[in-house]
């Protein structure tokens, strides 16, 4: 019907009673009983310890995984009914190691989805320039470099630019700043926070770092052993009494230099 990879602007992501288990013997449950709605323009942070199921939820959104029970709706359509290629081209995806293609230049990395979408060369080049500027890299200096010629922070910036290339309404980010040194991480968090506000995208952001969650989130959803145990705005979150919330807030208090 439509040739455009149109995830329309108004739509959101919705989890309806979603469980996901791996059919090993015995079968292992990764997430269960997840009901969650992400509204347009929201930055939802999925917070939790390693193995709490954060990444699984992210991968259920772009059809890299499918629910064992329940359904995930994107633009009010179940991921099972989507053409997966169309669905994924409308969703930007950024991961920890950036996953840049080492045989492509920075410009080719950023221009990949546009080239898959058959944009003409000129339009792609203009877009690549815009995006590099947007993420704070000088196009004339960086466009022709290879990923191995970039620092970790620069690679992550390119990763963000690549995810934004075809202007997808949804952005999924899986601990994108997790592997960076603390100074670079703080710098990218601040910049990304400002960028996210300007772009107005629907963002689902996975992290195990409470400070990052507090900085970026419009809402924090806390996962413990595959279940949602709390969902609150950053201000409310700090006052919650749930033991897992306390575990996270007390880790924050222990960090030298953290706000009391």
């Amino acid at each position: 019907m439509n040739t455009k990879p149109a995830l329309s602007d108004k739509e959101t992501i919705q989890f309806r009673e979603v469980s996901f288990h791996i059919n090993d013997i015995p079968s292992r449950s990764i997430v269960s009983g997840i009901s969650l709605a992400v509204s347009h323009g929201e930055t939802l942070v999925l917070l939790g310890r390693s193995g709490s199921g954060k990444t699984t939820l992210l991968r259920l959104i772009n059809g890299m995984l499918f629910p064992s029970q329940g359904e995930v709706l994107v633009q009010e359509r179940s991921t099972r009914d989507w053409d997966l290629i169309r669905l994924r081209r409308g969703i930007g995806y950024v991961i920890q190691d950036a996953g840049l293609f080492p045989h492509f230049t920075v410009a080719e990395n950023i221009g990949l989805v546009p080239s898959l979408e058959k944009w003409d060369r000129c339009r792609t080049a203009v877009r690549v320039g815009e995006l590099l500027t947007l993420v704070g890299l000088d196009p004339s200096e960086f466009a022709d470099r290879r990923p191995r010629e970039l620092s970790g922070g620069q690679r992550q910036r390119v990763g963000v630019a690549r995810a934004l290339a075809a202007d997808p309404p949804i952005l999924l980010m899986d601990e994108p700043f997790g592997a960076l040194d603390p100074v670079t991480r703080a710098e990218l968090q601040r910049e990304f926070s400002a960028l996210a506000r300007r772009l107005g995208k629907t963002i689902v952001f996975v992290t195990h770092d409470l400070r990052e969650a507090l900085l970026l989130a419009s809402r924090i959803v806390l996962l413990e052993a595959g279940r949602i145990v709390a969902s609150a705005t950053p201000q409310e979150f700090l006052r919650l009494e749930h033991p897992e919330v306390r575990a996270f807030t007390s880790s924050l208090a222990l960090t030298p230099g953290a706000p009391a």
Partner: protein
């Protein structure tokens, strides 16, 4: 041929024959390698996603590699169509030998790619074919070429034995030299064969380094 004939003067006197045999040898190796690449690389790409076929294909290719070359030439002679005496049989045997390194390296190269890169490719909405041809294959190229290089060197060596079933090439000198107990004849086959192997190794190695993506 007199026993006191020196190796050097033998080379000079028979240079036309040596050059001819070398060209024969190169042709034999080139044809076998082209066929082995045309089979091995696509087959390697095909088995990446197919677990059951993978062990069968790699297993069969490994078995050929373990058969002593002289025995393999012998086995092939009585087989109709591909067998008999001459170049065709030799090429079949050489292809079977060259197949394993090419197939294995193609498979290893295509599967040994950073998982983060493959995850990104999938999440960005690349189709399986796009991932294979635009991501996996270019990144695997240096490893595949290393397999081709190994296979070429093996083939240059094994091709000398192909003279035993009348395929010509540098092995002709070696077998005749062994029969006549003539060092000069043996060296007339062995030295050019060794030089060919070194040259192939050098130039394919050069190409491999240029294709390597770090």
């Amino acid at each position: 041929m007199t026993p006191q004939m020196t190796t050097w003067s033998f080379f000079v006197d028979h240079r036309a024959e040596i050059v001819g045999a070398t060209l024969d040898h190169v042709m034999l190796v080139a044809i076998a390698m082209i066929i082995a690449i045309l089979i091995g690389v696509p087959l390697g790409m095909f088995i990446v996603q197919r677990r059951a076929l993978r062990s069968i294909a790699l297993g069969i290719a490994s078995i050929f590699q373990t058969i002593p070359s002289l025995a393999l030439f012998g086995f092939l002679i009585p087989i109709p169509f591909i067998g008999g005496i001459g170049k065709r049989t030799a090429i079949v045997a050489l292809v079977l030998y060259a197949l394993l390194p090419i197939l294995r390296n193609t498979y290893v190269g295509l599967t040994g790619i950073d998982p983060a890169v493959l995850e990104s490719a999938e999440a960005m909405g690349m189709t399986r074919a796009q991932i294979l041809f635009r991501v996996r294959f270019p990144l695997a190229l240096a490893v595949i070429l290393a397999g081709i290089r190994t296979a070429t060197i093996i083939t240059i060596g094994v091709a000398t034995i192909a003279a035993a079933i009348g395929a010509g090439g540098l092995g002709t000198f070696i077998f005749r030299g062994v029969a006549l107990v003539s060092d000069a004849l043996i060296l007339a086959g062995a030295i050019p064969a060794a030089l060919l192997a070194l040259l192939a190794d050098f130039f394919l190695g050069l190409l491999e380094r240029r294709l390597k993506v770090s």
